[in-house]
Amino acid sequence: MSKWIAAVLLTIACICTTGSLSLAGGKDLGYLAPDEIKAAVEKVARENKDLARVNQLEKTSGDRDILLLELGRENSQAPAIMVVANMEGNYPPASEAAVKLARLLVGDWSDELEKHRWYIIALGNPDGYANFFKTPLYNSYLNGRPVNEDNDDAVDEDGPDDLNGDGYITMMRQIHPEGKWLKIEDNPVLMKRADNGKGEVGQYRLMREGIDNDGDGKINEDGPGGCNPGYNFPHDFKHYTKTDGLWAASEAESRAILEFAFAHPEIAMVLTFGRTNTLKDVPESSRKASATQDKYTLPRHFAREMGVDPEQEFTMAELIEMGKEATGMQDLTEEMVLQFLGVGAAVNPDRNDLPYWTEISKRYNDFIKEAGLDGKRLKPQQFPTGSIEEWSYYQYGVPTFAVDFWTLPEAEKKEEKKEEGAMTPEELEKMSNEEFIALGNEKISEFLKASGAPAQFTADMVIQGLQSGMMTTKKMAEMMRKMKKKEEAGGADETEEALLAYNPAAFVEWKPFNHPTLGEVEIGGMIPYSTVAPPADTIRALIDKQLPFLRALAGFLPEISIDKVNVEKRSNNVWKVEAWVINKGFLPYPTHQGQRCQRPTPAVVTFTGDGVTMLEGKPRVVLDLLDGSGGNQKVQWLIDAPEGKTVTISAQSFSAGTDQQAVSLKGGDR
């Protein structure tokens, strides 16, 4: 930390002496620019010809390359781990981590490449990231494809303008009748939104620094560039946002990565480096569900036709049975029923996958603690819709972990006087439902009062909710957090507060400026990127400490082998052959969501042997799912073959290894 303060002081000193402007751009902070990332990736390949190759997946509209660094021996058949970094294009630590990981894998960690291949995209959104290295500095993650954001008669005509010439696009504030913002007492840089409910009257309006170039009354509403490919992936894609693209996979960057992934079934795991962290907190299963619902109702007109109450709820198993009955289709699948119901895709992790994620998350948090990196920090981004990490689990079906490496440390809160019965969300979360109920009616009432729950929430109700499973302590903690946020919105923004505590120099002091059309305004506020980019040296040290865990994730991959083959003579020249195929890896193959979304192709067991007639069983048997940590399936055949013949059983998969055993037909009767 002291090093960081020293760096800031030094830079400030520089400003004073040289008058140099930008002190927070990528270059000044020591980050690799897009062309330097490209050079670094190419260098890794050039200097390690036996282990590394560069694929140019696509050119962006800004004429930059999407490069994929393929690490592993040339003819390797090993499962692959795909790493995609900085897809959002405005998260500097991500690309630094990806470059470092590549260097380690061809260097000190090269033994890992004997076991797995690694495909690394160190910079998924180079156009967007280039903005971090431009002056004036302006926080934008958009790629280079021009979009007419305001749908007027010109494209990209109203971008930001550095009016005060300080090298940053910050904010403008102006006292105005429509103002919704207030200064914060005893804090010269931060602003807060006026809370009318508390009698606060807004005073200032806040606008991004710039002028209304096209005279439409809006400032900076149609700047250069178009779309963030980081939110352009096809799971839970949001239409009509302007910045996410017109449809999923509409952008060159996202499409190139999707095409590559589907052409490479050996990809067994996806790691994303960006603003999300699914290792720190396992994604919850509390979103409004669709394909992962427990129960469904029938569409009204079908319910009428089938003579059932349209309000009545059915499980998927019941629906499949009803469907078979009604249609006579014996091969009716869950997929067909889902389509018939008209419900959308799964949006919550499959409950059978969750235990694996939870255990890996626990190990990650232990690791982070051990590394001394478990200080309280701001929450990473949650559930980004249309992101690559959501797509790779929900549609590509492979285990996916997102990691963010850094967020601002939480600002220290002034000690609040603890009310009788009060509890923090963290404390609440640690309690089981039963423990909480055991507090008793009185204590729970006190707790509800102290945490400001609406009066209609009685202790009895909460207890009932917990007993029925409608409510959990975890859900309650989440509700508390949301409530707290609402309260804090009356004060300064949590991120801004944290940034101020972390680095006071990340704010430009508000100073009067005579705006060409608005008149007297003040310009100031947060310097772009300062919440995501500490000096590169600082972040590199933190990345070095975290990468070993990401390497270790490869060790959790499923690994298929034939555990045992049993031959039993049933009659003269008639043999029963049994084989147990086992998954020795920690993770299931495929994931349960993968089984639902039919990716990847499951393991297949084949039986071959010359002069063998199969009496029962099939030469190819598909193993739908092998659970993790020893999950296994038995396959058996009854064959007609002379004694002493050799038959071969092999287990094959695209991304969990293959195994083969030859056995000779001999042995005693049953």
């Binding site: 005279g215 017109l246 449809w247 018939f340 008209g342 929900y394 099939k618």
Partner: protein, 579 residues
């Protein structure tokens, strides 16, 4: 001398530009289907015969490398194609729905051939651009004529896919076992098979009652179990349904079968969406399929949300007229009256780009009736009830007495390599969802008339000065009306509410004038005006269906003021006023 030449040249140029296009230049008949090469030849002939009215180009290649041909019909003498409302028409996105392409070809031929002889066609061709892609699924429609097909084979794009998820791709296709050039049905003797021979017609099988013993088990299409998994024909080539691969609320294959890996992952859907994005003037699309006799509008799924009442009114107007243009066809809503589809073309056009569109499901089994017009069949055909429901026995009569027995192949014994003695037979390739060729001429004409009617309803916006009032002190109030007599507004309600398309711009300019204010007139009599706060000389708006938009400006100064209407999906126009 030089001057004289120039005059002659100029006269020639005028003559050429106004030269009538000659009817009967290309003789196309519609009593047969155009196979792959014949379809292309016909398009080339049309282009060669009418070079200034047509443009024929490939917009991309399919999975198997075939060109996707686009025929643009536009009279260059009346303006560039993108300056006029564009009508997009395509056919056969599902490769086995072949007659859709004949409709597209006929439409193109009719618009060109009748340009001179039918005033309504001339007016339409002069005012619209037509973008016609007769064959979307170029691979499977081509193969429909060359490979032993079957009416259920060849719907999809030729994207390799492991249908049965056994790690092998496309390894268990159909086979023409008896070598008759067609893939028909197989049946095997089985007292528990659920079917028996119809006593009235030995070709027909009927379901047994639960207490009856049967004779037959149906085995599906001709073929063998190539991969030894106990199933026949379960992993043939092709898989991706292009009409589930488009980008609005696309859903993955486990939610929507055939969706493909991601939106526009097929080469053809990518090529078509890329093309459509270059023609923002397209205001309507007709996508032809078979069958069922349906005019289908979205929403295709609940996820797509409700359509706004104003757009529904436009759809209703066009759909209800359509029901009369093709008697018997029904105007329906896909997700409510049929089934859910995610990622279909029309939903993409409407919800992503704000373009109205219909699917035309051509032909219906009711047309194969064998009874007087007002006589209703006693029962529906339980196997093909979706396609309309003419009972099998009646269809057989239609086959025997109207088509001279060409529609059906009688059951014949065959020694199946894996199943032993079976029988092969059934409805032949060019039946069931495809009309007998004698019905084609009427089908293509009525369907083309549907497109022509719809195209006439694209927006035609005209400008009119309502008032120029001297307010004194050098100020004038100018009121202008933009009116549209047609059913389609200049922008769909979807385009406006989701801010998808740039709005129409009504603009006033003049060197001697200063625009003091501008706004949209809400009520002329009561002078209710919604002012435009910024850039008052430029008003962003749209012109409704069968309606008008009035605007007003207050300007200072004198001289000429030019008023322009600039629209993405309607033709621009200009007028001037003297102050």
């Amino acid at each position: 001398m030089l001057k004289r030449y120039l005059t002659i040249a100029a006269a020639l140029a005028i003559l050429l530009a106004a030269a009538p296009i000659q009817a009967g230049k290309v003789n196309l008949t519609f009593d047969h289907f155009y196979d792959g090469p014949a379809m292309l030849q016909a398009l080339e002939d049309l282009h060669q015969a009418y070079p200034t009215f047509t443009d024929l180009r490939s917009i991309g290649k399919s999975e198997e490398g075939r060109d996707i041909w686009l025929l643009t019909i536009n009279n260059q003498a009346t303006g560039k194609d993108t300056e006029k409302p564009g009508i997009y028409v395509d056919g056969t996105i599902h490769g086995n729905e072949i007659q859709a392409s004949e409709v597209c070809l006929y439409l193109a031929w009719y618009l060109l051939d009748k340009y001179d002889s039918i005033p309504m066609i001339k007016e339409l061709v002069d005012k619209r651009s037509f973008y016609i892609i007769p064959v979307v699924n170029v691979d499977h429609r081509w193969r429909f004529f060359t490979d032993p097909g079957g009416y259920n084979i060849g719907r999809t794009a030729m994207v390799p896919f492991d249908d049965d998820r056994d790690g092998l791709v496309d390894e268990d296709d159909v086979e023409d076992l008896d070598g008759d050039g067609e893939i028909l049905q197989m049946r095997i003797r089985d007292p528990y098979g659920g079917f028996k021979t119809d006593p009235d017609d030995p070709r027909v099988m009927i379901r047994t009652k639960p207490w009856e013993k049967g004779e037959w088990r149906r085995l599906g299409e001709e073929g063998i179990d190539n991969d030894g998994d106990g199933r026949i024909n379960e992993d043939g080539p092709g898989y991706l349904d292009m009409n589930r691969n488009y980008g609005f609320k696309w859903q993955p294959p486990y939610v929507q079968g055939g969706a493909g890996d991601f939106p526009m992952s097929a080469k053809v859907t990518k090529a078509i969406s890329d093309f459509v994005m270059t023609k923002p003037n397209i205001c309507f699309d007709y996508a032809f399929h078979n069958s069922g006799g349906l005019l289908v509008r979205g929403p295709g799924s609940k996820l797509a949300g409700m359509y706004s009442p104003r757009d529904v009114a436009v759809y209703d107007y066009l759909g209800k007229e359509g029901e009369k243009i093709i008697p018997g066809y029904r105007y329906i809503i896909g997700s409510e009256d049929m089934y859910t589809t995610h990622g279909d073309f029309d939903e993409f056009m409407y919800s992503t780009l704000g373009i109205y569109g219909f699917v035309g499901e051509l032909f219906m089994s009711e047309q194969e009736r064998y009874r007087p017009p007002d006589d209703k069949p006693e029962k529906e055909d339980e196997d093909h009830s979706y396609y309309g429901g003419t009972p099998q026995e009646e269809r057989q009569k239609f086959n025997d007495n109207v088509n001279q027995g060409t529609m059906y192949r009688d059951w014949k014994k065959f020694n199946h390599p894996q199943l032993g003695e079976i029988e092969i037979g059934g409805w032949r390739t060019y039946t069931t969802r495809i009309p007998p060729t004698f019905m084609l001429p009427e089908m293509v004409h009525r369907a083309a008339s549907l497109v022509i009617f719809t195209a006439r309803q694209a927006p035609d916006v005209s400008l009119e000065v309502l008032e120029v009032k001297d307010l004194g002190g050098g100020l004038h109030r100018i009121r202008v009306r933009a009116a549209n007599p047609n059913a389609m507004p200049s922008l769909s309600s979807k385009a406006v509410s989701k801010d998808i398309v740039r709005k129409d711009i009504l603009k006033i300019t003049g060197s001697g004038i200063e625009v003091v204010s501008g706004g949209i007139v809400m009520d002329l009599q009561f002078d209710l005006v919604r002012p435009v706060e910024y850039r008052p000389w430029m008003i962003f708006t749209s012109v409704p269906s069968f309606g008008k938009t009035d605007v007003q400006w207050i300007v200072k100064g004198k001289g000429k003021a030019t008023i322009t209407y600039d629209a993405v999906k309607a033709k621009n126009s200009t007028l001037t006023v003297d102050l």
